[in-house]
Symmetry: C2
Subunit: 679 residues, 2 copies
C-alpha cells in the first residue's frame, strides 16, 4: 500500500492505494472499498496530527475509483479478451481518489439580511421562499484569490404552497452572495429586471415587483386531469433481453462486449469496448459540459454551470425507476458514492440497460422477383439521467447491430429563470410566463473518445469532399469531387465543416481492409453546433477553451480526463484541460491518442420550453468505416410477422366481444385482413 | 365538365375534370374515378380522331388526382374545421391529371449486339445477365433535341444463379444506349474500369475482366444461418392505437388532425394539418430528390437520378407487410395507380400509420422533495417506402405530442456499382466487394412546406445568434449575444448557417403570443448538408438548381409543386422549378408562402454499406416556437409502472419454472426487486 498527498486550488487531495487482488480492475467501486480507503486516510492523518500535535477535521467530498493507468490495464483487458484466466492476467491495483473540502452549510434562507430583502418584496404572507445554490462562476476582475462563494438564485412557491410547485415561475429580484468558508452573507446583490428599453439599468421594477406573476405548474398533482385518449403501449420481451451481464459489470450483446463504470464526476462511463473480440474503444465518457448564460447584467454574467466539474454527473444521478424511465426488460446498475464523513452511500439504480427497437435496419426489394429482404434494428441503450438543479440531462450510449455506437443526449427539466417587469421583453431571452424571463444560454458538452481500433496505435484522419475543377483531363463534365484526407500528425484542434461533408476517421494504419485497401477505422461526423459565443477576452470563454473547437486530438496520458480542466469551480481559465493537453504538440499519428468532441446547442428559449422543457435531442455517432468486410448486421434475422406479431388496425377496433371470440386479450394476435382494402 | 390539353417537352398532357359531388376533395383517388376519367379522355380523343380521320393509340403513364386550387380548397377545409356539414361547405371539384407517353419495351437483354458484348466477357456458361434501366440523364453537349434514351447498367447473377442473387456484386463493363421511341440499341458504350493510375482511360481491364468478382449476398436464403441470440421484442397495444381514422383518410391523434394523400409522383402527402383546431400546415410533401454521381468517366457522369420526377415515389411505393415493416398496431392505406391502358391498378398498403414510443418526453426531479415528474413521448408515424431500382428510401412524417412534426428519411437498399480492375482503387468511390466500385454520390431531397400558421398569411424570419461586441455600455463582461431577426420580404433563397445557430421561423405576424409578445410560429433548423458538388457550369447542377441552396421561400401558386421542375427526365436545366418560382421576386411577407428545404447527404461509400446498406437516417424538424402558451405535452399522463408494466432483469432471467410460479408467461409482469442491489 502506498499513499501520497498533494494540494491544488484550495482543495486538498489524498490518493490512496488499496488492494483487492481478486476483483476485476474495472469493477464498480464497492462499499467495503470505500470504508477501507476512508480508514486508511484517517489513520494516516491521525499519525501526522500526532507528530504535529494538531487535530484535523476531515470533510469528504468524494471517494471514487482511480482510473487505472492504461499501461497496466490494457494488457489485463487484452488477456481477458484472449480468455486468459484471471489469476494469470497482469495485476492491476485498484486505487481510490478522496477529495476533501470545507463543508457547506445552507444558511441563506434564514439569514436576517435575506429575510429583510424578502420582506421588501411585499409578497403574500406565508409565501415560501426557496434558494438555488448556484456556483459563483468567475469574474473578469477577479485577479485576487476569490473566496469560495455561492451566488444563489432565489425563488418563491406559488400561493397554493404545494411543495412541488414550480418555483421557476416566481423568481426574486435579488441574489445573496454567500461565503462558503465563513458561512456568511457577503452582500445582497440586486438583479436587473428591466426590458429592452432599460439597457443595463437596475431598480426598474414597480413597487410590488412580483405582483404580475402567476403559477405555471408542471407537477401532475397541480395540473388538470391529463388527456384521456392515450392508449397503453407495452414492450414485451417474454424470453428476456438479448444481453447477458457477466462478472458484475461486463455486458455482452450482439457481438458487442464492454464494461460499465460509474464515478461521482463523469457518472456513467464505458470501458473496453470490443466487437467480436476486436478492440474498438478503450474508454468512452462525457468529460465536461458548460452552460454559459447570455445576460450581460451582473451577476447574471457569472451564470456558467460546469455540471461535471462543479456538480458531478455521478453525484447528481437519478435513481431510476422501473417502468417510469424505460419500457421493456430493464437491468439496473447501482454505484457507491460517499458522505461528508467518507462513509459509503449507495447510489441506487443510477444506470439502466435495456433494448429498444430501432426501426427498419435495412431493406431491399428485388423488383424482378418482388421479394423483399428486411431486418428491424435492435439497439442496446445504456442510460443515466442527471438532475442539476433546474435542468435534467439524459445520457444514453447506444450500441447497434450495424456497428454504430452513439451518444444520445436529451436536455429536459426546467429553465433557470429571472424576474422581468410587467409588459417588458428582453434582448437577452424570452418571456416564458408572465413576468418570467428565461435567458438565452448554451449547452456545450465534451465527449471523450479513447479509441483502440484493432489496437492501441491509431491515427485520426480528416476527410473533406472537395469539388474537382472542371477540365478536359480530369473532370470534363464537372460532376466529380475528391475526398481529401489529412492525417493529424501533432496534437491539435479542428472544426466541423458540414458544407465540406467533413468527417473524422479514427483508423489503424497498420491494418488494411482487404476489400477497400483503406485502413480499418471508425468515422465521426462532428455535430456542427455553434461554439461558445462569449467574446475572446471574456472569462466565460477563457475558462471553457474546450468549447472553442469541435474536435481535439491529443496524445493519451493517464489522468488527462477533463476537457475543461480538473478544477472548474470559480476557475478563471481552463487549466490542465484539453487546450493544454493539445498544446503539448505531441505526435499523434500512429500513437495512443484521444479524440474529444464538443457538441451542444445555443438555446434561445421558446414559450413551449416552459414550465417544463420537451426533450431536446442531440446525437453523436461513431460508425464503422471499412472496419468490417461487409454490413455487420447482415446476419440479423429477417423481420417477419410470425415473430413480430403486429396487429392490423381495422375500423372499428375489435370490441371486447370480438376479442373474446378471437381468444386474445393482452397477448399478441393478428386480426384477419379485410378482403378488399378500404381506402 | 371541362377539358384542356397542352404539350411540353415531348410528352402530351391531358387534364380532365370529373365531379364527385359527395366526396371530400382530399379523398384518395378511387378506381371508379380513374375509370371515369379514362373514358372521358378516350371519348374526347375518339371524337377528335373522327373529325381528323385519324386513329390515336393512347398509352397511359399516370392518372392522378389534380391538387385542388388553394383558393377553392382552403375555405372548404376551414368550414370543415368549424364543423360545417359537408353539404353547406364550398364545392370543390375533383380533377384528374392524365399523362401519356410512348410505351417503353425492354428489348435490351435480347438484342444481338448486347448478346455479342456479353459473349466477349467470357462469363461462365448459363450466367444470367440483368439490366437496370437507368434514365439517360443529361449531357453538356446535348443542345440538340435528345431522343428519349435509356442508358441501362448491366449486371450478372452469381454463378449459383438464384433469382435473388445480388447482381450488384457483378457489374458488366459496358452499357447499351437504347432509344425508347425506336426501340433500338443506338450503341454499346464501354465503361471505364480503371483505378487511380488510369485517369479517364477505357479498356484497361484484363482478358477475363470479371474473373476476380465473387458473390456478396444479402438475401436471407443465400446467407448462413442468422444469429441466434436475438430475443423477441413485441409491441403490444391491447386497447388498440390512440388514433382514429375518419372520412376515409382523415387521421385524428393527440389533438392533431390531418389528411393523407397519395399520388404517383410524390407518393405520400400530408394535408390540412391542424392542432386543436388551429391551422398549422396546408400541405407537406417531398417535392423532389436528385442523386448525382461523382465519377467523371462517361457515361457515368450522366448518372443522376430524379427519383420523383423521373420514376415517381408513388409508382415505386412498396406494398407494406404486417409485421415486417412495423411493430404494434398498424393501419394501412392503399392508393390507386393506373396501367398503360389507363385502367386503375390497386397500389395496396402503400402507406402505414402506427404509434411508437418516443423515449422520455420530459422529466424533472424536484431535489427538495425528491419527487420526479416524467412522461414518455408517444409519436405517430405515417410512413411510405419506395424502391427505386437499387436504392430504398423510407419516408416517415412523425407527429409528436410536444407539437413537433418531423420528416425522417432512411436511405437503405443496395449501392449502384460498377466494375473495377483487380487490385485497383479509385478516387471516385470505394471498392466494396472484390472488383466492385461503389461510386461517390449525393442524395439531395426537397421538402415542400406549405404553411398556414393560424391562417394563410405567414412570414418567414431568419434568426441568427450573433455575439455582441464587448463594451461597457452594453456587454461589459463579453458574455452576451443577440438574436438577429431578418424577415423575408421577397421570394428568394437562403442557406443554413449552423455556426450562427441559424433557424427559420414561419410566423403569423398578425397573431402575437400573449406571453412572449412574439408572433406565433413554427421553427425549422435546416440540415446543414453539403449542397450539390457538381460545378457551376455542369449540366448535373443546372438541372438541379434547387440543390444549390438549403432554403427557398416562394409565394404560393397552384401547381408550383416541383422543386426540380415538372419535367426532369433528360432535362438540360431546371425549368419551372423552385429557382424559377423564387426568381419572380414576389412579396412573401405576410402572404401565402411556401418554404422549401434542401437536405440530404454526400455518400462516399463504406465497405459496411455493402451488400446492403444499413439505414442512414436524416431528420428535419418543424417545432412550435411561441405557437403555444406552454409545453403542449404538459397534460400527457405520467409514466408509471402500473401502466408501463416494465420487467426487472435479474441474473439469471427467470426460468420456465419460475415463470410458472409467478403466473407470468408472455404477458407483462414485474419480478420482485432484490433486497440488496447487486453491483
Amino acid at each position: 500500500m502506498d499513499s501520497e498527498a498533494f494540494s491544488t486550488q484550495g482543495s486538498s487531495v489524498y490518493k490512496h492505494t488499496k488492494l483487492f487482488s481478486q476483483c476485476h480492475p474495472l469493477r464498480l467501486l464497492q462499499d467495503d472499498e470505500i470504508e477501507a480507503a476512508r480508514s486508511i486516510l484517517l489513520h494516516h492523518i491521525n499519525e501526522t496530527d500526532q507528530q504535529k500535535h494538531e487535530q484535523t477535521k476531515v470533510h469528504f467530498k468524494n471517494v471514487s475509483l482511480h482510473d487505472p493507468p492504461k499501461a497496466m490495464l490494457l494488457p489485463h483487458l487484452d488477456a481477458e479478451a484472449a480468455h486468459v484466466p484471471f489469476e494469470q492476467r497482469p495485476y492491476v491495483p485498484r486505487c481510490v481518489d478522496i477529495y476533501e473540502v470545507k463543508e457547506a452549510a445552507e444558511k441563506v434562507l434564514n439569514d436576517t439580511s435575506v429575510l429583510e430583502a424578502v420582506k421588501q418584496l411585499k409578497l403574500p404572507e406565508d409565501t415560501v421562499v426557496t434558494c438555488d445554490a448556484w456556483m459563483f462562476g468567475a469574474d473578469r476582475d477577479s485577479n485576487e484569490e476569490t473566496p469560495k462563494y455561492l451566488q444563489p438564485l432565489m425563488y418563491a412557491r406559488a400561493p397554493h404552497n404545494h411543495p412541488d410547485s414550480n418555483q421557476y415561475a416566481y423568481p426574486l429580484p435579488f441574489s445573496p452572495r454567500y461565503n462558503l468558508y465563513t458561512g456568511e452573507i457577503v452582500s445582497i446583490d440586486p438583479l436587473a429586471t428591466g426590458g429592452k428599453e432599460d439597457g443595463l439599468a437596475y431598480h426598474t421594477a414597480p413597487n410590488y415587483p412580483m405582483a404580475h406573476l402567476g403559477p405555471n405548474e408542471y407537477y401532475p398533482e397541480l395540473l388538470d386531469e391529463p388527456r384521456k385518449d392515450l392508449k397503453p403501449l407495452h414492450v414485451v420481451q417474454s424470453e428476456g433481453p438479448s444481453f447477458v451481464v457477466e462478472d458484475d459489470n461486463c455486458i455482452m450483446w450482439q457481438k458487442w462486449r464492454f464494461r460499465i463504470g460509474f464515478n461521482y464526476r463523469e457518472g456513467m462511463t464505458i470501458h473496453d469496448v470490443r466487437y467480436d473480440g476486436r478492440p474498438v474503444f478503450y474508454r468512452l465518457s462525457i468529460s465536461e459540459m458548460t452552460v454559459p448564460y447570455g445576460d450581460p447584467r451582473s451577476p447574471y454574467h457569472r451564470k456558467q454551470a460546469f455540471d461535471l466539474g462543479d456538480a458531478g454527473a455521478g453525484s447528481c444521478a437519478n435513481n431510476l425507476s422501473l417502468g417510469c424511465d424505460c419500457l421493456g426488460a430493464i437491468k439496473y446498475f447501482s454505484g457507491w458514492l460517499s458522505d461528508a464523513e467518507g462513509n459509503p452511500v449507495l447510489a441506487e439504480k443510477v444506470i439502466c440497460v435495456h433494448e429498444q427497437d430501432g426501426g427498419i435496419g435495412w431493406k431491399h426489394t428485388n423488383h424482378r422477383t418482388q421479394n423483399p429482404a428486411i431486418v428491424r434494428a435492435r439497439n442496446l441503450v445504456v442510460q443515466s439521467i442527471i438532475t442539476v438543479g433546474n435542468y435534467e440531462y439524459i445520457f444514453a450510449f447506444v450500441f447497434m447491430q450495424n456497428g454504430n455506437v452513439e451518444l444520445e443526449t436529451r436536455a429536459t427539466g426546467i429553465l433557470s429563470t429571472q424576474l422581468i417587469d410587467p409588459g417588458k421583453t428582453s434582448d437577452w431571452g424570452t418571456v416564458v410566463s408572465h413576468g418570467v424571463l428565461a435567458a438565452n444560454h448554451q449547452h456545450l458538452f465534451s465527449l471523450r473518445v479513447d479509441p483502440m481500433i484493432d489496437g492501441q496505435l491509431n491515427t485520426v484522419i480528416q476527410e473533406d469532399s472537395v469539388p474537382v475543377p472542371q477540365s478536359e483531363d480530369e473532370n470534363p463534365h464537372g460532376n466529380a469531387w475528391r475526398v481529401v484526407k489529412t492525417p493529424f500528425e501533432k496534437s491539435r484542434f479542428a472544426d466541423a465543416a458540414p458544407f465540406a461533408n467533413r468527417c473524422f476517421k479514427i483508423v489503424n494504419e497498420n491494418i488494411i481492409n482487404t476489400i477497400s485497401h483503406n485502413p480499418v477505422g471508425f468515422k465521426i461526423v462532428p455535430q456542427p453546433c455553434q461554439l461558445i459565443l462569449a467574446g475572446k477576452n471574456s472569462v466565460a470563454r477563457r475558462r471553457a477553451k474546450f468549447a472553442e473547437h469541435h474536435v481535439w486530438v491529443t496524445r493519451h496520458r493517464d489522468g488527462d480526463l477533463w476537457a475543461g480542466g480538473k478544477w472548474t469551480n470559480q476557475s478563471l481559465q481552463e487549466t490542465d484541460g484539453v487546450f493544454d493537453y493539445a498544446s503539448r504538440g505531441e505526435d499523434v499519428r500512429n500513437q495512443d491518442l484521444v479524440l474529444w468532441l464538443t457538441f451542444g446547442m445555443t438555446h434561445n428559449p421558446r414559450v413551449e420550453d416552459f414550465p417544463i422543457m420537451p426533450s431536446e435531442i442531440t446525437t453523436i455517432s461513431l460508425k464503422p468505416a471499412d472496419f468490417f468486410s461487409h454490413n455487420p448486421s447482415l446476419d440479423v434475422p429477417q423481420s417477419v410477422q410470425k415473430d413480430n406479431k403486429s396487429v392490423l388496425v381495422q375500423d372499428p377496433w375489435p370490441t371486447e366481444e370480438k376479442k373474446v371470440e378471437g381468444g386474445a386479450s393482452t397477448s399478441c394476435c393478428e386480426y384477419a385482413t379485410t378482403e378488399k382494402p378500404k381506402l
